[in-house]
């Protein structure tokens, strides 16, 4: 179910202190460049990872606008904490630790409100207030009606899972994130990740059975 990692980073881009396993992660090279002051490295990381972070946070908070705010927050934290990143961890693990923390923080707030970007001219055409989950764009046009319905129900079921089960399930579906990476992102043990996934899959199976 999981695909192999990506191509090896050029040797000259990796410092001697970086473990061999981290050298296989091209994002490590980008982070090391960011740590030395390269803004383009940050842009590259943003363009590569923001689509996933946006989708991930959207599934947490159930609102496009709030997910966009959180995605901004995640990458601002990546920048602010750039010198805390250690290549011993995969970048994706570190990134989604931040995303999970911010998303869980958001869920804990007694009220949620949009933060106004004081430096941004509001452009109504460019900011869309999307529909709440499930996302109608999540399913391609080619899929049959029953498949679309399945996907819609699955999205709703995933969205109804307790936050940590949801996080464990979504993170473990990302290519290249092993259970130990998920455990690190969630701040728990691998055994706890297995337990979260067991409970999550049991719940989803019940939903699918009801549907079929």
């Amino acid at each position: 179910m999981k695909t192999p990692g990506e191509s090896v980073v050029p040797a000259e881009a990796v410092s001697a202190d970086v473990p061999a396993s981290a050298a296989a992660d091209p994002d490590v090279a980008l982070m090391l460049r960011l740590q030395t002051g390269d803004e383009t490295a940050f842009q590259d990381l943003f363009r590569k990872w923001s689509p996933r972070v946006l989708q991930y946070t959207r599934r947490f908070v159930g609102s496009d606008a709030l997910a966009e705010e959180l995605t901004q927050d995640v990458f601002v934290q990546v920048f602010r904490f750039r010198n805390r990143y250690r290549p011993q961890s995969r970048f994706a693990t570190w990134l989604f630790t931040i995303a999970t923390n911010l998303s869980l923080n958001e869920l804990r707030r007694p009220e949620r409100h949009l933060r106004v970007d004081l430096w941004e001219k509001t452009d109504a055409d460019d900011r869309r207030e999307g529909p709440p989950l499930p996302d109608p764009h999540a399913v391609t046009a080619e899929q049959g009606a029953s498949t679309r319905e399945l996907a819609r129900r699955l999205e709703a079921a995933v969205g109804a899972l307790p936050p940590k089960q949801r996080a464990a399930l979504l993170l473990s579906r990302f290519d290249g994130l092993a259970y130990r990476d998920v455990a690190e992102a969630l701040g728990c043990s691998e055994g706890a990740v297995k337990a979260l996934l067991f409970r999550a899959t049991q719940t989803l199976k019940r939903h699918l059975h009801e549907f079929s």
Partner: protein, 104 residues
């Protein structure tokens, strides 16, 4: 003599970098130059605190170390958020903290 040697060896073990394991966290050599500078400056501030406050901070550090990484990160992020406040927001936060504390 053997007992003295054993005790000496134990004391030596406590004084070595393995003592850092008692506190958790990284050894000094693993900090970057910037981090070492920051830790050194904070150490000097810490030295100026009354002993009671120093003990309190040590206790809090042990609590902090016992927290899951996610919770530690949350506190760091909250601190960074506070750092982003302008002076007016900081005054407001301080006032709200007093109000919140009095209501507990």
């Amino acid at each position: 003599m053997k007992r003295r040697t054993t005790i000496a060896l134990l004391l030596l073990a406590l004084a070595t970098p393995a003592a850092a394991q008692q506190w958790g966290g990284r050894p000094w050599q693993q900090l970057s130059p910037e981090e070492q500078q920051r830790a050194w400056e904070n150490y000097q501030r810490y030295q100026q605190l009354p002993q009671q406050r120093q003990r309190m901070i040590e206790r809090r550090y042990q609590q902090f170390q016992a927290m899951p990484p996610q919770e530690q990160q949350r506190l760091r992020q909250n601190y960074e958020a506070y750092r982003g406040f302008n002076p007016g927001q900081r005054r407001e936060f301080t006032e709200k903290y007093r109000r919140w504390k009095s209501g507990r």
